[in-house]
């Protein structure tokens, strides 16, 4: 049980994440992809008359159950089974009062917005392209994954230091 309370090394977490791809296919031809859930939420709540959000999202309900599970997994991994020594987020940047600062707004609101905008534009995220697409040897997913990393590296070196110093 001790194992559950400590952070897991990459060679434990990685294979479990990878196994999700064939497992979901075998369970019902579902493709692991999490940014889709953001689209389904838009389609369910505020479809307006936007073509991207006008489809039968109820057929994709499994995906919303799946991300509900991911949230519960976060509770188990971050609150229930934890030795309390691992901090995952810097609380000086990620807290409610930080939302009234320009730094907090850029990081949480601006950052979140770009995650949602970019993943839908790319039609997939780290799971849909980076894990599923690469595992299925889809070359567009390799281009996507390289773009994710290029964007992240450029921003980290060129802009992030100035934002963190705000």
């Amino acid at each position: 049980m001790d194992f559950l309370y400590k952070p897991w090394p990459w060679y434990v977490a990685g294979p479990i994440i990878g196994l999700t791809v064939p497992l979901l296919l075998l369970m019902g031809n579902k493709r692991l992809g999490i940014s889709s859930s953001l689209r389904h939420i838009c389609a369910a709540c505020v479809p307006a008359s936007i073509p991207l959000f006008n489809y039968d999202w109820k057929k994709e309900l499994w995906n919303l159950y799946f991300v509900g599970g991911v949230l519960i997994g976060g509770v188990l991994g971050g609150i229930v089974f934890t030795d309390g020594t691992t901090e995952l987020m810097p609380r000086e940047y990620f807290n409610w009062s930080e939302l009234s600062t320009s730094r907090g707004l850029i990081m949480m609101v601006g950052g979140g917005f770009m995650v949602g905008f970019g993943t839908r534009y790319a039609r997939g995220c780290t799971s849909g392209h980076g894990i599923t697409g690469l595992a299925a040897l889809q070359w567009p997913s390799l281009v996507a994954t390289m773009s994710f990393f290029l964007g992240g590296i450029l921003f980290t070196y060129l802009l992030l230091p100035y934002i963190l110093a705000l």
Partner: protein, 136 residues
């Protein structure tokens, strides 16, 4: 409820993301600064394990649990893969979250990341609104 089983898979996936620290802002910074192998190790084990699973399914023509033919995932190229990919990368380093961790960070007790998730939903919505003006 035929969808309940997907909650269970989600829980295991979310647990692996969280205990594997793939939802950690610090780990994402180390990854983009090339300071730690950890995140690369996760990708470099997850992808081959997933690929091996798909190869075995194809080779032995394994059917789904309900007996259907397995449809292999396909991703087609469009320019959004690059343009959207870069934008997502910017957001990834700011929030320390790709879409999976958006949910897991909330669960792990960082309540303010609800705001990050709501912003991501808003970003998705605005992409839908602007899609027809953007290069595909």
């Amino acid at each position: 409820m035929k969808n309940l089983k997907y909650i269970l898979v989600g829980i295991v996936f979310g647990l692996a993301l969280t205990k594997g620290e793939a939802i950690s802002w610090y780990r994402i910074q180390q990854m983009f600064h090339f300071e730690s192998f950890h995140m690369y190790g996760i990708f470099m084990t997850a992808v081959p394990v997933g690929a091996l699973g798909l190869i075995l399914i194809r080779k032995f023509q394994v059917k789904t649990f309900s007996g259907d033919i397995v449809e292999m995932p396909k991703k087609e190229y469009h320019h959004g893969v690059i343009l959207g990919g870069l934008i997502f990368g910017f957001g990834w380093t700011l929030t320390g979250a790709c879409p999976g961790p958006l949910y897991a960070q909330i669960g792990a007790g960082y309540s303010v990341t609800i705001v990050t998730l709501l912003a991501a939903i808003a970003g998705t919505w605005f992409f839908g609104l602007l899609q027809k003006y953007l290069p595909d």
